[in-house]
Amino acid sequence: MMKLIRLGFPFSFAMLLMAMGCVEPYNPPVVRQETNYLVADAYLSTNDGTVTVSLSRTQPLYATEIPPESGAVVTLEDDQGAVYPLQEQRSGQYSTQGVTVSATKKYRMHIRTSGKEDFFSEFVSVKTSPEIDNVYWLPESDGIFIYVDTHDPSNNSRYYKWSYTETWEYTSNFASIVKILEPGVIVPRPFEEYMYMCWRTVNSTGIFVGSSSKLQEDVIRQYPLIFIPKASWKLARKYSVLVKQQTLTEEAYNYWLQLEQTTERLGGLFDPMPSEITGNFYNATDPSQPVLGFFSGGTVVEKRMFVSFIELPRHLQETTRDFCVADSIKLEDIVNYGPGTLLIDSYGSPFVEGYLTSAGSCIDCRTKGGTTTKPSFWK
């Protein structure tokens, strides 16, 4: 709620200016300011008692790789003195399982880097999230908005954070039902090698937080999560989203909100001036050194929703098609093509005169990032 009041104005004003004005890529002058701060991103899941911590360092602005912080000793401590060590699973990824989490205890992370510096987080309490009441979509004039509703009858949750995983089903332009086994040998494509239908899965990258702290009851109604424009590939056949919800402490909520404001807003004249956002970690060895990242804990609840193309209102039933043209290969020329050439089907009736082919992206749906394996949850 607060979010709407505080941010609605600048955000939409920047949108308006973008619509009127002109946005161009911009690369600022090279900034020569070395920073090498520790970044700790830690979460204690009470669903299964898993603690995951990922450690890395800040990098120059256009660094493509973010190197992990390896070789640290990472432990979870509770306020009763119990210590749970974490193991480095992959480089920079530390975790352990089976922690018995108690809602009455408070927990903190302790990190000792290979450089022998000690980092602690504040003690935090774990929050149990209520179930998601509903994930649903409503049509707009030029797309659909997906919303989430939740409520907590005990009025204890108040601060929420969402993330989601989208999956959508789509097809390539042409279905390939034959393939070249070797030059001159054409066989029917086995069903398991079909590459006409794909499912692509993408995780959310933005920060979505909301609060009911300004309401009498702990209710979140119509929190706008995702906008999908019409004619998007996502809506071409069927779309599904798995929404994950967790409950935050007030501090965690403020951290995510500020992080969202400074890193996702458009930096216009009506946006708050950006500032350094530090989380709840501190450097015990050298307190003047900032540490980035946040440690929090709680349950994660999920809910899935589907939308099919045919459910959309008529004005949104539009699809995008790639520009695809089928080309023919005469029977006598087919010997010149190896298995790398994708064939659609034969042509000619009643006798085969040749085969049709097209660009790989028109035949193989995987070129658009999906897989041909149908997800287990798909219906």
């Binding site: 920047a14 004005g21 701060y37 990922s54 990098q59 400074t262 996702e264 216009g268 001036m273 500032s275």
Partner: protein, 918 residues
Amino acid sequence: MKARYLLLLICLSGFLVARAQSDHRISGDFRGMTFSQFVAAVEGQTNYRFYYKPAWTDSLSIQAQVQNKNISALLDEVFAGTDLNYAIDDNNTIYITRERKILTQLTPGFFEETKSVSRPAQSFDYSDYERREKQKKIAEAKLYNIGARTTNLQGNATVAGNIRNATSGEPVIGAVVFVENPTIGVTTDQFGYYALTLPKGRYEVKIKSVGMKGTQRLIMLYASGRLDIEMDEDVTPLKEVVVESDQDLRVSGVQMGMEKLDIKTMKQIPLALGETDIMKVVLTLPGVQSVGEGTVGLNIRGGAANQNLILFNDAVVYNPSHVFGFFSTFNPDVLKNVELYKSSIGAEYGGRLSAVLDVHSREGNTKKFSGSGGISPITGRFTVEGPIIKDKTSFVLGVRSTYSNWLMRRLNTRSLRNSKASFYDLTAQVTHKINDNNSVYLSAYTSEDEFKLNSDTLYKYTDQNASLKWKHVFNNKLYGVLTGSYSQYEFNISSERVPLNAFTMDFNIQQWSAKADLSYFPNSKHTVNAGINSTRYYLLPGDMKPYGTESQILPDKIDREHGRESAVYISDQYEINPKLSLYLGLRYSFYQYLGPRDVYVYGNGLPREKTNITDTVYYGSGKSIADYSGAEPRFSLRYSLSKNASLKLSYNRMRQYIQMLSNTTAIQPTDIWKLSDRHIRPQMGDQYSIGIYKNLKSGLIEMSLEGYYKTLQNTIDYKGGATLLLNHYIETDVLEAKGKAYGIEWMVKKSSGKLNGWVTYTYSRSFLKTESAFPSETVNKGKYYPSNFDKPHAVNFIGNYKFSRRFNFSLNLVYNTGRPITLPIAVYNVNGTPRVLYSDRNQYRIPDYFRSDISINIEGNHKVRKLAHSSWTFAVYNLTGRANAYSVFFVSQNNAIKGYKLSVFARPIPTITYNFKF
């Protein structure tokens, strides 16, 4: 009038028969004759026939005695020194006319149709202009006796009065009234009033003002008395050679760091959105900056936007902008002029640190009804004015609105189609002259803005103010003005999309002010001003309420704030000798923050945070929670280096008890105002300035170079991510900062002639610094850092070229260094998504800004008697289409950090405006 047409007919019929004029010689002594006797005598001697109107000639006493002279020579002698003319046609008929001579010959080619372009009939037409010229000549030649005639011419006497525009009856502000030997002069005040104290005797008093025709009066000053003077507007008639008056106020006045612009100058400057905008014009002056295109907040000499006192007819204006600052709230058609004080601010002004922008509306035509208006692609406006009681009471009423909603619905972009932005404003002023010594002025203003930007949230704000002034002249040397004013600003945010979350939130500030000001002119060397004033503030910092029955919103209201600010002042402008003038002023202000209210007490030696509250103290209604007071000295000095050059120094201290809280780069309509309280102390600023002024080509070109150094104390800064709206612990998010600013401003101005305009260059810096023992309460580790509007280099050029009376071309060039921004310096991963880490605040800059605009103004023809006068303005804003950066931002998109530059007007924006006047 009738007589004139009659004469016209007669003479026209006379032309039909062409005959050679006979050359009679006349002799005789006509001395002591009346005109009719003279006519009889001449008609007796000759075959001339006279046609005349006895009423015009009966006062004439003939003093002519001639020997063998022709008729022309005789009549020349007879009519010398009168306004009578004669004309003799071929029938030896003599027509006596007043003021104007009859033509007895048709223009050559009158009957040849192809050549009949010289319109002889027009030669008979009296224009108002000519009549006024005549009156002016008479007035200038006449000797005015001031005071009862006496032979005792010992000592001084004061002549005082009002200077008014002869056409509209409006007062002329800032006109210079002076005598040359000895050089003694004064300028008229905001009421057009002047008081000039001189040794008794005979003088030629000269009156000069920008945009007006200079005039003069011969006076014989016997004792103190009154002299009202009317001036003509300087509408340059065709083919007249204009000799501009010596406008040397810039050099000879004590005032420095002051700019005055009248609406005529402002109307020539190219416009972005089809309308003259005084805020945009002020932005072209040296030392005035803004953070970006389309923002109305003026940053004057390194001060924040809320540190400017903006007055509209003496009432404070809280938000001078419509539509985020793309328009200013002032309707150009009702405005008279704008005065900007950047330094040497008079002791009568107070309450803001940086500058004073004093906007005056016109008082309305006291002689006849007239109207004006304009239509541009986005707005329409209409103004009507006229007398209620002729020469006594007049009014102006202006209205302006936009049809942007209609336009937006037609746009093809979803975000625009779902948006709404509209505004209107109304300005009214009534002036009533009770008698020579008492006048009353009533002014009122109201505006409303409403916008919804591709969202469900509706924003509304209204700005209202009113003032009532009573001016009383006690005697020639003393007058007083009693002013009451009221200002209110209010905004509302509401959302109804989700009934459960539907809310409405209000902010409101009101101020009631009363003041009494006295102006005293003891003698020609001193001008003393003194006054007292008091302002009561009522502020509702935020009140959120549920909207509708389903809404679950919890009501949340921040306690109202109350404050009282009072001040007394006295100042004296003292001309020690013609070379040296001084201005000494002292203002003492006193402020109280009043209950009822709960006040939090924070632990000593602890950072000011919610967790460190040790106590809450309740103060009852009207109880003083915090008192602040202090002196505000003002000083300036002018030393004449030569007749055309001077050196000036000034120092002033200002205090500010109310501030706007805004942690965005540009101010926005939903920024709240906050009174100084126990935790947020009043701001204080000191400014030292020095300037050299020189006029070249007898004042045609004015040059100035000014430098200043300014320090600010207890100014406002913000913690990173501060929440300002509905924050019950606002003091925990606001930081106290020190500021410093310095700069040099250079300006060359040519205010008249075919080519006029100005060029300015400014070098200026502005810094802030937070000081606290706690790292959480400092910005950039407590070091000085550039403020948001620190733009070191700025160059402005404004030029107008008049090709002809009807065709005017203007060019506007703007260059400045890009404003400071906070850039990301590093990237890091959270939840698998890259995020950016920002540098210390304002350590980098956006690219430099450059823009050029042109406009062409085409006036309709200048026939005097036309139903309506119209003009067209074609303008192109950002002619070169340079994509100036409005902002630079970085977002994480698809697992990468991308930088973007946003330009608002990245293309040339043409506009066309139609203006009319009747």
